[in-house]
């Protein structure tokens, strides 16, 4: 899923500037699951805004609304009837959602309330961790199912660097060295011969370096 962090309240206030009629838009997908932009978090941020502005003696209107997804135009269309009543749409979706809402409501000010951080997994209730960077050319078959692009600080492809110590990465003691994990996993699954294979230099054009990507599947198109 896509994981994010709620922006600081002060930053959100700053971005809102003088806008006092706010449509707070949640998304019932990834950001709900990772506890950053679902209906409950929409409620929390709305409540914070109301508390703050009431305290400041301001007049305001905050409307809470959560869409099934902010990355599909049919859902985004559901707010068409009332979006214009607000100065600003404050989206709690990932960056994709924010942009898609902005595309749909060209005249509206659409602001993000969330910093989108990574593609990841739930480690345990309340804890998420990065697993994928969407590089466009998956090599997990070669690396024991552990991605060195996403999980090695340097995205090294052929073994660890000198910063690997006792299985941890030099960036901090909490972070596993991805290559240690890869080697352990290859051993465990009896594929150590893979470690001997030299991976070619990565062609980053399939990733972000090739510019924004797009995917088409002709058979699914209407």
């Amino acid at each position: 899923m896509i994981v994010g962090n709620r922006k600081d309240f002060s930053e959100i206030l700053e971005k809102l500037g003088a806008a006092r009629r706010v449509l707070l838009l949640g998304c019932n997908e990834c950001v709900t699951v990772c506890g950053v932009g679902g209906e409950r978090e929409v409620g929390v941020l709305a409540s914070e805004l109301r508390l703050y502005w009431t305290k400041e003696g301001e007049t305001f209107e905050v409307r809470e609304h959560t869409l099934e997804r902010q990355c599909d135009y049919e859902y985004i269309d559901q707010i068409r009837g009332f979006a214009d009543d607000y100065d600003v749409i404050l989206s709690m979706a990932c960056g994709a959602g924010v942009q898609y809402v902005a595309e749909a409501y060209k005249t509206k000010l659409v602001l993000p309330a969330v910093n989108t951080t990574f593609l990841g997994v739930t480690i345990e209730q309340g804890m998420w961790s990065e697993r994928c960077q969407g590089c466009g050319a998956c090599i997990l078959d070669m690396t024991g199912g552990i991605c060195p692009i996403a999980r090695c600080a340097k995205s090294l492809l052929n073994g660890p660097c000198g910063g690997s110590s006792e299985g941890k990465c030099e960036i901090d003691k909490e972070t596993d060295c991805a290559w240690q994990l890869i080697v352990d996993r290859l051993k465990e699954s009896g594929q150590m011969e893979r470690y001997e294979e030299i991976l070619p230099v990565k062609d980053w054009r399939t990733g972000r370096d090739g510019g924004p990507r797009r995917r088409v599947r002709e058979d699914l198109k209407l």
């Binding site: 309240f9 409620g43 929390v44 409540s47 508390l51 009431t54 305290k55």
Partner: protein
């Protein structure tokens, strides 16, 4: 036990403090209360095993939110007591009331 405690404390019954969510606490502040505290069972003696521990975490979280919006995290608290500790209940009611008095009325009073 009939121990006197300040009359401004009003009880909202829940089956377990585990039922109390972050939003309910925030909504209470929105409606203009000056402070909120949860009275949960003693830690380790939750009749629903760990509801009071969940509640404590949420209270900590709300403290941060209240700081962010400038109400002050001290307006919310979690207390633990057993059903037989009326003394403690009264004591916490007193403590919290005094704390709130020092902080003054909530700046989020609804216009009346």
């Amino acid at each position: 036990m009939r121990l006197s405690y300040p009359g401004n404390v009003k009880v909202v019954k829940v089956p377990c403090t585990g039922r109390v969510d972050v939003l309910l606490i925030l909504r209470a502040f929105e409606s203009g209360v000056d402070g909120v505290y949860l009275a949960g069972c003693l830690e380790g003696e939750c009749h629903f095993l760990r509801g009071n521990l969940r509640a404590r975490r949420r209270v900590e979280y709300v403290k941060g939110l209240l700081e962010e919006v400038g109400l002050g995290g001290n307006r919310v608290e979690m207390f633990n007591m057993s059903a037989s500790q009326g003394q403690r209940f009264a004591q916490f009611a007193q403590e919290m009331t005094e704390r709130i008095r020092l902080l003054g009325p909530s700046p989020v009073k609804k216009g009346e």
